[in-house]
Amino acid sequence: MVCAAILAAAVAARAADRALDEYQVKAAYLYNFAKFVEWPAAAFAAPDAPLVIGVFGEDPFGPALDELVRDKTVKGRRCVVRRSVRMRDLRSSHIVFIGASPEPVAQALRELEGASVLTVGESPRLLDEGGIVLFSVDGGRVAFTVHVGAAARARLTISSQLLRLARVTGLPKP
């Protein structure tokens, strides 16, 4: 009886809640961040310039990120993935994922100071060092924390839909 009920429930299952690889999920988050963050117009060279997702350091995504953004547009812009972004080229991306890297994360974040770049990473120190979005795995699910102060300094507007689901830190003192 129980099994029959469960199988019935399984038939009615949605696409969510399936078991995916951690970095497939993180890649999907990056794509969603592109949708729910507003960049200042000056961050793009032209009205139809692509939105660049850069991966700094090691690339943990495999093909997941490319497959995800292939043929996709976000607010009328094409999405482009760039790997092995060099320190001095960081500022030409719109989203930078900071992977495990032989170069210090803090240095990359300093390089990006004042730029309208959404920095996303996994190092527990990321938010203290000026990063904006920190991924964490909590109870087997990927969660994220947004430093709204750092986002404001980067002149990025993060939609309330995104903030509603995030842990929020770096709020200005009342």
């Binding site: 949605r14 696409a15 969510a16 809640d17 794509y31 497959e67 210090p104 527990p124």
Partner: protein, 683 residues
């Protein structure tokens, strides 16, 4: 860690060679079946972009390393797996690995005021030091070379605050790991510098005059080297007045063990990584005074104590090539020391006895894996040399040498593991390992698992596995003049187990896990008197048949509320006598609730374990119990400090765990309500 109990046991049944042959045939058939169709890899990326943020937050990404020696999704692993994270350890303030395990579905823990013993599937043998579960730390075997046991209480050599996660892999694991993995594998993964950068300090204290501290320091250098150093110290007076009516003799104050429950511990950990190179070192010492008068030691004598020392160095190197080939190699060296001091009374005089064991071993493992599209093939070999196995026993003053046994052993093994994707929804996993020992010979153990994902939110697994436990050096060679003799012909214990697992998401908040298992354990080692000379000897005496069912529901509502409830029902009997095993509860119920308290940011975490009655060695029953633990923790105060207050056994439940053959006590009473406070600082 000695058992000098009375003779006990039944003659065993004949060997079931045919079943073993059938199993081997099944593996070969499985491999052939897997080789034929080249299944298409499911393309998860399709539709990934369509998932909403809410959907993404619900996707389970749990992975497990210990099931197949590589990282795989929990749903793909060829076993029922539970993962406990550092987050849960902090929220519930688990003090030891034993605390972690007692909250794992179907697991239970007993304590005899010396060591903690973990049971699962209704199985704990009296006098067994966790030799039938394999405990790994970062993939390194912790079970020692003398007793085959694993230390899981305060004596566990890694500070629990430096544990990143614990993987519990149910069922036989010899196809991967060889000996000891009869009932499951517990793989404890320690933190790395990336997970714990900078300094952290935990300081705690509480009831029973307990105090302790743990520190860690992690650093990733610009050159790509990452280092984590950590250590902890702990001290407890324990219960300063323990009353055991079994030792009452009519004199004033008799039966009271005063100030005889002290414990102290120190341990340390180093994790060093650079490129594919990993160096890990662990060292721990724990001293525990034993208040129970176990093994006939003079009661209420503060000199009775055990000291366990364990340490290892493990150096591994992993690299992978673009063509899908991976190579992992490692070398390791381990050391284990056991010392027990116990005073014995004879003819009105008291003599202090020192019982000790020393184990030194080293080994190497090489394995290579090849990925072919979604398929995977792993082959490997492991060699191990037990260079020093010493068991010694003597009276200190006047000096009398009672035992001095020195041995050396070697073993080698070959293993292979395959993962075949048969179409989108079906995966076949097969594993086989042969272990060859210099003393008793060899064992070959398979594992076959079929994993089906009929729908996105459903996983079904059918697993057949077999495992063995090599006879321990203690069982083989420990002797006591005129009482026991060596048992050099002892053979391994063998288990065959079949398991069905179902994991199902229900609605948007619930996940349901169910598994049913059945196993037969043969050649279980027990002590009996040799009719020829009346001396006690270990023999492969017993068989155990068991079956059971576990169900668990886990619900989550964002970060604010989590609920986990599980129920295990099982029956374990000796088929010869059709008698229920001792210390085997038919029902284990566990629950945990984590809830944020309004807008204060405070978090309340409650966990509960309820066991049904257990048969004791005396044939009586240890009553069932319900123990509830509660922890309140603050969010970070000022960005640096977190404080947690815990009440263990909140309602002061009175209960006892069954004693073993070395105890005069049928039941050993457990702690009542105990408070603990702990602070965590980052700097």
């Amino acid at each position: 860690m000695r058992q000098d109990g009375p003779a006990q046991g039944h003659p065993s049944h004949g060997a079931r060679v045919r079943l073993a042959r059938l199993a081997r045939a099944a593996v070969v058939a499985g491999i052939l079946a897997g080789a034929a169709p080249a299944g298409a890899q499911s393309d998860d990326a399709q539709g990934l972009a369509d998932l909403s943020l809410e959907d993404l937050m619900n996707v389970k990404v749990e992975t497990v390393v210990g099931a197949s020696k590589y990282r795989q999704r929990v749903t793909d692993a060829p076993a029922s797996v539970t993962i406990i994270t550092a987050d849960e350890i902090q929220r519930h303030q688990y003090r030891t690995l034993a605390d972690v395990l007692r909250n794992v579905r179907g697991f239970y823990v007993t304590y005899d005021r010396n060591y903690h013993y973990v049971g699962t599937r209704g199985f704990i043998r009296p006098g067994d030091y966790n030799s039938r579960i394999l405990v790994l730390v970062d993939g390194h075997r912790l079970n020692d070379s003398i007793f085959g046991g694993a230390l899981i209480g305060q004596e566990f050599p890694v500070p629990v605050d430096l544990v990143d996660r614990v993987e519990v892999i149910r069922g036989p694991g010899s196809a991967m790991y060889g000996s000891s993995a009869l009932f499951g594998v517990v793989n404890v993964i320690t933190k790395s510098a990336a997970q714990a950068p900078g300094g952290e300090l935990w300081v705690g204290g509480g009831g029973q005059q307990t105090g302790g501290a743990t520190f860690s320091y992690g650093r990733q250098s610009e050159g790509g080297t990452s280092v984590l150093l950590g250590g902890s110290a702990y001290r407890s007076a324990g219960v300063t007045d323990l009353f055991y009516p079994e030792y009452r003799d009519g004199t004033l104050g008799s039966g009271h063990a005063l100030d005889a429950d002290r414990a102290a511990r120190g341990n340390g950990l180093v994790n060093l990584a650079r490129g594919g190179l990993n160096l890990r070192a662990v060292y721990g010492v724990r001293r525990k005074h034993v208040p129970t008068g176990a093994f006939g030691a003079a009661f209420n004598d503060p000199r009775t104590r055990t000291i366990d020392t364990q340490g290892y160095v493990d150096l591994s190197y992993a690299r992978s090539w673009k063509n899908g080939t991976e190579l992992t190699s490692r070398v390791y060296g381990d050391h284990y020391e056991y010392d027990a001091f116990a005073p014995y009374e004879a003819d009105g005089a008291t003599t202090l006895n020192h019982d000790l064991a020393r184990g030194t071993w080293w080994g190497a493992e090489v394995r290579t894996a090849k990925r072919l599209r979604a398929h995977r093939l792993t082959v490997g070999t492991e060699l191990r040399r037990d260079a020093r196995l010493v068991q010694q026993n003597y009276d200190v003053e006047p000096y009398v040498d009672c035992l001095h046994d020195r041995r050396a052993l070697s073993m080698w093994s070959l293993f292979a593991d395959t993962e075949w994707h048969l179409g989108r929804a079906v995966t076949l996993e097969t594993g086989l390992r042969h272990d060859r020992y210099s003393n008793f010979g060899g064992r070959t153990k398979p594992r076959v698992a079929v994993i089906v994902n009929p729908a996105d939110r459903t996983t079904l697994k059918a697993v057949y596995g077999s495992a063995f436990r090599a006879p321990t050096v203690y069982e083989l060679y420990w002797t006591q003049a005129n009482v026991t003799k060596a048992s050099p012909d002892l053979q391994p214990e063998d288990i065959k187990a079949t398991e069905l697992v179902l994991e199902q998401y229900l609605g948007s908040h619930w996940r349901l896990s169910m598994n049913g298992f059945t196993y037969r354990l043969k050649g279980l080692v027990g002590q009996t008197a040799d009719p020829a000379d009346g001396l006690l000897v270990y023999r492969n005496l017993l068989s155990v048949d068991a079956n059971g069912f576990e169900v668990e529901a886990e619900g989550r509502w964002g970060r604010d509320l989590r609920v986990r409830v599980s129920q295990t029902l099982q029956r374990s009997v000796d088929p010869a006598g059709d008698e229920r095993l001792t210390n085997s509860p038919t029902s284990v119920f566990q629950a945990a609730v984590d809830s944020s308290l309004g807008r204060s940011g405070l978090l309340a975490s409650m966990d509960l374990q309820a066991l049904s009655g257990r048969r004791t060695l005396a044939g009586s029953w240890a009553g069932g119990y319900v123990v509830t633990n509660l922890t309140l923790s603050t969010p970070r105060l000022g960005g640096r400090l977190e404080v947690a207050v815990s009440l263990w056994n909140l309602f002061g439940a009175q209960y006892g765990d069954p004693g073993s053959e070395e105890h005069r006590q049928t039941l050993i009473p457990q702690d009542g309500r105990t408070i603990g406070v702990k602070g965590r600082m980052r700097f």
